[in-house]
């Protein structure tokens, strides 16, 4: 039995509560979008826990939707809202993402189930391709959503950290953003290894990613910072 998804799920749901609590206290659409992205992250790792105990093709589809398609994009959308404050580009992109996400959910849920042969002792990332048929559009959306999410989340955190470093302000946010960038890159790299047919490090990378991003978030929001987030 693989215990890493249990730990990832606990860390991620605590993280969701921390981010959503901050949203309730301070507002900010980016915090709400990060909460949604982290909720997808947590649902993804929770389905890994469930699929380590019993098999259900619906859970494999939910795992694929949340873990492989939606998490990075919704987290990245939060960063877009944080960085693009002028105009309504961020709002338009959010509606586009919502529409694409709805399409992804429909496509994955109606995708034909291929086989009920599932070994609970193996990771879901090794077997999901045997469980349901991914159409070309599903694969295309998966890749585009991941590129968008990784670029905006990691790129946004690197850019923010660079600005804090250059201006020599808010050291906690500078280091926090470095940890967020490193944490977001961990599952992105794990997923990329998987796409590239290399070693399956996904579960470990998800756990490391959740821990690093959580520490980064706590660090970035610690202390009495006077500037906008």
């Amino acid at each position: 039995m693989n215990y890493i998804p249990y730990l990832s799920t606990i860390v991620t749901f605590v993280f969701v509560v921390a981010v959503f609590t901050r949203y309730r206290q301070r507002g900010g659409i980016h915090l709400l979008l990060w909460s949604i992205g982290l909720l997808f992250y947590g649902i993804g790792t929770l389905t890994e826990v469930i699929l380590g105990l019993t098999f259900n093709s619906l859970f494999v589809k939910i795992w694929y939707l949340t873990g492989a398609m939606l998490t990075a994009a919704w987290l990245g959308m939060g960063s877009v809202h944080l960085l693009i404050r002028k105009g309504n580009a961020a709002q338009i992109l959010t509606w586009v993402l919502a529409a694409v996400s709805a399409l992804a959910i429909i496509l994955v849920l109606v995708a034909p189930t291929l086989s009920a042969n599932f070994d609970v002792t193996k990771t879901v990332s090794e077997q999901y391709k045997n469980v349901f048929e991914r159409s070309g559009l599903i694969i295309l959306l998966t890749i585009l959503l991941n590129i968008y999410g990784t670029l905006t989340l990691v790129g946004g955190a690197i850019y923010s950290a660079f600005l804090f470093w250059r201006k020599k302000v808010l050291a906690n946010r500078m280091f926090g953003n470095i940890l967020i960038a490193a944490g977001a890159l961990a599952p992105a790299s794990g997923g990329t290894f998987l796409k590239a047919g290399l070693t399956d490090l996904l579960y470990l990378s998800e756990f490391v990613g959740a821990i690093l991003m959580f520490i980064g978030f706590m660090l970035a929001t610690s202390g009495k910072s006077e500037s906008a987030e």
Binding site: I139, L140, I143, N146, I147, T150, L151, V154, G155, I158, A161, F162, W165, K167, K168, V169, L170, A171, M174, I178, A181, A182, L185, A188, S189, T192, L194, K195, A196, G197, L198, G223, S225, E226, S227, A228
Partner: protein
């Protein structure tokens, strides 16, 4: 209208001054590598695509 705010400045240590940009460069490099690999899987150049 909101009151103009000031952010807390910090005096970077030698390591902060030199290591942070290196670290950011490494992260940027990994980000680009990940994007390239995802792009390669888009055009079917990776076995797991």
């Amino acid at each position: 209208m909101t009151k103009p705010t000031r952010s807390k400045r910090f005096d970077p240590s030698f390591w902060t001054e030199k290591l942070v940009p290196v670290l950011l460069g490494i992260l940027l490099f990994i980000l680009l590598a990940v994007i390239v690999l995802i792009g390669m899987s888009l055009v079917g150049l990776t076995p797991g695509a």
